[in-house]
Every structure is written in C-alpha cells, then in structure tokens.
Assembly symmetry: D2
Homo-oligomer: 273 residues x 4
C-alpha cells in the first residue's frame, strides 16, 4: 500500500500548496491513503470547517491535529460530525471528537489512523504510550487492520523516538509533528515500522514556524506585549513522508522524505516514479 | 572557504565515526575549518580531556558543548587550558572556559566560532540573543573576521529559527544542536547566513538519542527509578552540514546536509566532489 | 473526629521532631487520625522501611509520598507490604504500592486517605482530578467512609486551589504538600472541606527546603556541577494542619495551622487545648 | 523604621481592600514606608495609570509588578513617567520603566526598593541573583541607604529562599510574591534580613488565585478553549508582612504576618498596637 503523510498545514501558503499539488501527487504516486496534520491551517491557529472540507476535497483521507486543535472554536462543534478529523487521543475523556479512526484506503484496505500528543514540554495530558497501546490492542495490525499510521504530535525527539521504538513492529508509520521543521531521519525501524521524527510543515519556510518573522524575533528580545503572530505569505512547501507497506504484514517496506517547494532541498519517493 | 559542522558526538560510536572518517573528509573536501559539538562524547555525558584531544587530533578545529558541558567534572579544569573547547557563551559570568573564540582556518582566514544555549525548555540562562549580538559587534563578519559559525544548542525550533533570522547577514552559519536528530531544512537564508535547525548527532541512530532504547522507553511508561542510560553500541553515523562561504563577504554560498553512515539517507556536498 | 496532617518530613531534623513530639500531641489533642507526608524522610530523598516503621510507631496512621516516592529504591519493594504507605494515585498503572486506602481511625471511623500529584511544573502524569473523582465515587464521604483526607502533592497554588474547589463538600481535608513552606490560608471552604495550600515541612527551616543552604545557592549562581544536597541538621519544626470534622457529615468544622518548633511563628488548635 | 509590604492586588476586591484600609493602617501603625505589588490590579491582569494613582493615593509609596507587568499596554507608556512603579529589574535592557528605585520614607530615611523575577517555572529572564547583587553593591544597606526591600516575584520556594539566603544581612526584607497565597514562614533570617516566602494577595480568597472558580477548574479538567478568567467579586483580604528595622543597621528587628479580611486567620503587628 502507498501512504503519504504531510506535516502541519500553516496558513494560506500551506493550504494553497496542498490544494494545488496534492491531487496530482495522489494520481502520480497512486496513493492509497493520505493523512495531513491541519492544526495550523487557519491563519496558523486551528482549523475551520470550510478549510477542513477543502483539504479533504484536495485528497486527504484523514486530518490530524495537536495542541492547536480547538483554536478555532467551531472545531469543537463540527469535529463531532466529521469522522475524518482527529484530535489527540490522549485528550481528556469527554473532549469533542475522537483520536483514532479506521478508514478505508483507496485500495480497500482498512487503516487505523491515530493522533496522540507528547507530554515533554507540552500541556499535561494522559500518557500517550498507554493510549496508543490500547488502540493497537483493540485493532492490531495484520489482524483487524491492514495499516496503522500514528501522528505523534510532540516537542521532544526523545519522546517521539521512544514511542516509535515502543510500537516498532506494531505500526506501519510513526511520524512526529509540531516542530514545523522536517527531520532527515526517515527510515524503517528494525521491527518494520516506518519512522520520521518530524514531518515538518506545509507552509512558507521563509518564516519562523510559518509565521512572519518580526514579531517572534521581538518576543525573544523583549518581554513586552506586541502584535499578533501572522502567517507568512510566501510560497508554501510541502513536507512529509511517503511509505510503502507490505500488503501481507502492513509493515513498512521503504520510506522517502517528501519535500516539494521553494525553500527546502527537494525529495520524493523515487521508487514510485 | 569550506566549513564542516558536525552534531553532538554521542559515546564511542560517535567518536569512532569521527576519528575514522574525518581525516579523509578533511582531505577529500579540502576543508578549511571543522567544528564539532562534543557534549555527549564521554558515554553520552560530557567530555574528557583525552576525548577532547582525540577529536581535535582527528581534525576538528573547535569543539562546542551544551547543557552537558561539565557532566565530566575534569572539563571544569582542562577547559581553561584548551582554547579550542567552547561552552555556551551565555553561561553565568565566572563559568570556567569561554563561549567564543577566533581561530585561524587552514586557509589562513580568521573564523569566529560561538556556542550559545537556548532557553525554551532548557535551564535558565542569560539571553542568548544579546550575547550573540555583543560578540558580533566585537568581531563583525567581513571586518574583524572572515567567517562566523554559531552553534545554537537549543530544544525549540522557534528559538533556533529566531536566532538565525536575528543574525541573518551577520554570520556565515547558524546551526542548531541538542535534539540529536538532523533536520532537513539546511539552506542559505535571504541575508546570506547558512542555516540548519539541527545538525543531528554523530552516534548510533538505532537508539533513543544515541542511548540504548530499553531504559528511555521504560522511563516514559513508569515513574520508578531504573538503571542508568548507556550509550548505544552499534555503528555510528556522522551528521551535520557543509558550508561554502564567499571569501569576500564571509556569507554562505551554498550548503549541503552531511549524513554518512548506516541508518540515515546519505547526503554530502556534491559540489565539492 | 480529630485529624492531624503534617507536611513533608525532611531528613533527621524532621524525623526527630516527629518522633519526639507526635506521641504527646496524639494524646494531648486526642487525635483520631494522623497523616504525614514522608517523601523526604531519608536524608531528603525518599523513605526507607526502617524510617517508615519509625514514623508509624511514633503515631502516624498513614504516610503519604510525592515525586520523591522511590528515591530510596527499597521503597519499590516494601511499599507492597506496607498498606499504610501511599504513593501518588495518579502514578502509572502498575506502579508498586497504592495511592489510596481506607483506614480505621482511633475512634473506629473509616477514613479514606489519598495521595495525588499535580502536573503543573511537575512530571507528566495522568490527570489527578479524574483520579480523585473516581476514588470519591468509589468511597463517598458520609456513605462509605466517615472522613476523606487528600494530600495534593503539587507545585502550583492554582492547581491545589482548583482541586480543593473541585471536591469541596466531598472531602474532609485537601492539603497541599511539596513546597516545604507552610501557607497561612488554612480554612474551611464554603462546601465544608478543610483546606491548606501547603502543609510546609517537618524539618530544619534554617535551610533551603530543609537542605543545607550553600549548595542550593551555588546552583542558582553557577551552572557547573557541585556537591550533593545534604539535609540541614538544626532543630526541626513540625508544620501542618489540625482538622475537626463533624461526625455526622464528615466535613470540617474548624481547622488550625500547626507550627511547633524554633523557626516559625507558633500555632496550634487552641480549640483542643 | 516601620515597613509594610502587601501582596499582589487582584481586581476590584483587592483595590477596595487597599483603598479602604490602608490609610487607617498607615496612621495606626505609624508606617514609614508601604510597598504593594500591583501586577493584577486591573481585573486580574496588569495595572492602569488610574489604578496606579489610586493605590499611591491610598498610601503606597512604591508599587511593584511581575509577569503581568504590561498586560495593560498603557503601562508601557505611563511607567516611564511614574518613578514609583517598578517592573522586574531583570527584564531585558531596554524594557520601559525601572526595576529599582530609592525613595524617601516618611521618616526621611532613604529606602532602596527592588522588584526581580524568578526563573524557575517562569519566563526566561536574566539572572535575578546577579541583578540584585549589582543593585546592592551600587546602593549598600547602611551606607547609601537606610533600608532595602526586595520583592522576589517567583513561583518556586527554593528560588525565593535561595535569594533571601544570598542577601541575608544585606537587605531589610526579601518578600516573595506571585503565588497569591500567603505563607506562614515570616521571620528574621540569621543575618538580619526579614523574610516571607510569599506575601499572598490582596483580593477575594473565595476564588482560585483571586479569579472566579468555574473557569480555572474547567481548565484543569478539559483541554478545550473556554471563557476568560474574571476576577472574583467577594470581599477582599489584605495580606503581607510588617517589618520593623533597626535604624542603625537597616536590618530587621522583628516581623509580623499581616492578614486582614474575611477568609484568612487574622494577623498583624501586635508590637505596634
Ligand atoms: Fe503545528
Ligand atoms: Fe503543535
Ligand atoms: Fe547532545
Ligand atoms: Fe544538549
Ligand atoms: Fe517534599
Ligand atoms: Fe515533592
Ligand atoms: Fe500575581
Ligand atoms: Fe505573577
């Protein structure tokens, strides 16, 4: 099976890059499933229903979130009627929406997609390792589903690597999000799980985390209130990871960094070209 | 000028990779200056004088450090007699050693090398932005020196990108260290400063941050005391960035990710081959 | 019913103060139940079985812990055979020991005692509010037990006040521990729950948190490794709160700060004298 | 000399308590100097010029601030023309206002008042210990001034006790603010410095940190956006510390907890009555 995961969409540059490029990529690479993190899609903060629909229409099968899940309050409502939008599974019981779902890929395969949030340098939440273990037990790879994709929205590389090692052999892909910088460590772990510490963002990289540079720099220098953070407006770059799984086991055969756009060294799944 | 920066050496696998590969790389790429972060060189924690000498002998011109600077206490002493070993410049006044130095590169050029530490999700320290600005004023690129290399040892990508944007045009290279995962965003910023959010580590990537996996995973699951963290022992990979600077301005012409070893997608400065 | 809660025992001064004074206080005030936090009893770090036995023999009915629960590793073992020693209830499933227990007070009443840990500025743990709610549902005050004592081991006053307001009317006492400084806000909340933001410590207050002053001061000034923290050795002071509950409802009638020893303004339950 | 320090004014209940009670207290206790922390005076967030003037008119000689200094942006402007309003001295160079001042007390004595902010669990700032040492060197107690009052706005008790021990004998009073809960450890340290870990707040204690309880509790339970925090509206209580200094040395003779109002055990300087 052919999977594509793209990192946090940040503002209009990220949305435009996804909407303009994803349809062709789906076709060209014969993608079976596309998952995109959308927590910053609305001007850098959260996601609206209109944007969610736009990204799904562009070819995403599932959209994941993170600490910015509900920055746009309407997400508290429409997430209940949008089964393809996931917020972190280790949010408190009672949080609107869900943190995991099983969707049918284009090839008919059942894929468990999960979104969890790390705890190091993040908000206090319940243990993501335990939540992931429970979901995997309820829907084991190779038995109840054909692929498992886990978006680990976290700051610390130790926690991302830790979760990946913890589920190695039980998931098709563990991919980090949140830092908005793609890492270069994409690989298949010894147990067969595809891994990338961070997918990076889909957005304008001539920025600080996808936002215009002046105000963030000012905040590092001064401790006074300033202006709002605004999304940068230059051309967006797509960043993420492509994974080919073994149809028999659901584990990863091979992975490739995906970077398409003006600011990053280009990369893609040559094995699908 | 040709510069090479390599990320945190972690334990024996990192040291071996550096010692075995660096001499040939220096020659093959005609490197003028090599800087390596060595904060985890001694079993994952700090650096000893013997290891420091070994890494310098292998071809490093300057070794930088970070939050693990003094994990080996002998570093408090020998750093005073080793001008090529830098600890973060924003450590408190009175800390042994220094945070910046000007060294002569192989081509005779004077290079200002600086080590600073971020503050987000790190120990409380004085402002790294201010310290960097002071050093740059004291030794401006193109006037008092021919190149400026800044190792920004930090957790948060926002702070690394912020510092880089802050000095863009005033330094040859800003490179992050500390996360032990190489990022894929190496590029020349609009003002001419080479940039990479994190150099990654020189160490065994079949690990968690270069350490054996069992104990770190256990610590995420359990809140009980366990065993020590031990450096992983598999083959090490080199990770960092190669920079070619303009001899007239000292700014970066072009950069290339450097990844040499078993676990990461290989990369290097093709323009020097 | 008459309850006494004393804050974190720190080292020998704290133990001596408890052992020398508690037996007489139990008698003089006709105490029905005594709970003491013992997380720093062993030289400032954790608790040994010998010390646990000593404190119980001196008149404690239950000993609670906190982030230092297992600093002495033997606690991982003997906590299993010591039902009167509690570690935080929101530690991960599978942690040795228990976080809540029902004990019989001297007057025959059944008292639910609970230890939970906050999450603000502390280690990542599961939600203490949810854990407390579950325990209270399983053993409601006035129905399944005659009193409820909750030791909220936490840093932030907001989280302590939040938990207290959350259970106001469902517990006899919510008392904070961990900061090693007694607060002066002991009172009965509107719903009938006795409250004190922090019990303070039982230890030598001519110190920093019960430890000798030199090394902690040095650590604020310097970022280099130093010597170990050693418990201070001057005379200890007892600190905590006395609570009188209504036998019918189990709620608090009245409370009094308890401070007995050389460094703090003396205070006690005059209503029992 | 007779000094009074009162903790963070929170909203209208705090302002009313100060305005209604302070004038009589000044007279009754023949106060020479009054310092009040006002960082939450404007509805819980910052301070306006009108409120600043009101509090000064009620009898404060100096108003200190903290992490909420500039929540009301007008403070960025009027602090420049209001020498009796202090923001933390370890804010970055260039921050509007000042962090220390020498004022004349009613008895003609010169008093150095300082505001610094801790770094543990707080925003990254420059080292408060160093800043305090510099101020004390520039204006030594007993030489250049007759009393020194330091408001250490900090979360961690270790850092407050650390600073106090660091300046013991060089200041008349070190008093903590920020936690909004008064501690009960007021005393004269061995070197002669008066000390209290936290002054508490001037505000409505039937609250969470002075704010209405519902929203803060909700935020501990849920990770979704909610409503704004609103200051509680019940009767306010004054909290702080009274200090009598030796006219010859400027060190503290004796101190007394001050708590006047509906929710806290009453306390005051009996030695002045
Ligand atoms: Fe994001
Ligand atoms: Fe995020
Ligand atoms: Fe490192
Ligand atoms: Fe580091
Ligand atoms: Fe403690
Ligand atoms: Fe503790
Ligand atoms: Fe405050
Ligand atoms: Fe504050």
């Amino acid at each position: 099976m052919r999977l594509l995961f793209l990192g946090d969409i940040v503002g209009r540059p990220g949305r435009t890059a996804v909407v303009e490029r994803l349809p062709r990529l789906r076709e060209r690479w014969s993608l079976d499933l596309v998952v995109i993190n959308g927590e910053n899609a609305a001007g850098g903060f959260g996601i609206t229903e209109a944007i969610c629909d736009e990204v799904l229409a562009a070819g995403a099968d599932v959209i994941t979130l993170g600490n910015h899940s509900f920055d746009q309050r309407e997400a508290l409502v429409f997430i209940e009627r949008q089964p393809r939008l996931l917020r972190p599974a280790n949010y408190p019981r009672g949080t609107p929406g869900r943190g995991a779902t099983v969707v049918e890929a284009r090839n008919g395969a059942r894929v468990l997609v999960m979104n969890v949030m790390g705890r190091l340098f993040m908000d206090p939440l319940d243990d993501p390792f335990t939540v992931v273990a429970q979901e995997l037990e309820a829907c084991p790879l190779g038995a109840a589903c054909d692929a498992v994709v886990i978006d680990m929205h976290a700051e610390a590389t130790s926690e991302k690597q830790g979760l990946a090692a913890f589920v190695d052999g039980r998931a098709s892909l563990v991919v980090g999000t949140h830092t908005h910088v793609p890492t270069a460590d994409g690989r298949v772990l010894p147990g067969g799980t595809g891994y990338l510490s961070d997918a990076g963002m889909c957005g304008d990289y001539d920025s600080i985390l996808g936002m215009q540079k002046d105000e963030p720099i000012r905040r590092f220098l001064e401790k006074t209130p300033g202006s709002r953070l605004e999304a940068a407006s230059g051309e967006g770059t797509l960043a993420g990871i492509a994974v080919e799984t073994d149809d028999a086991t659901g584990l990863a055969h091979r992975v490739a960094h995906v970077r398409i756009g003006p600011h990053l060294a280009p990369s893609g799944p040559d094995f699908w070209e």
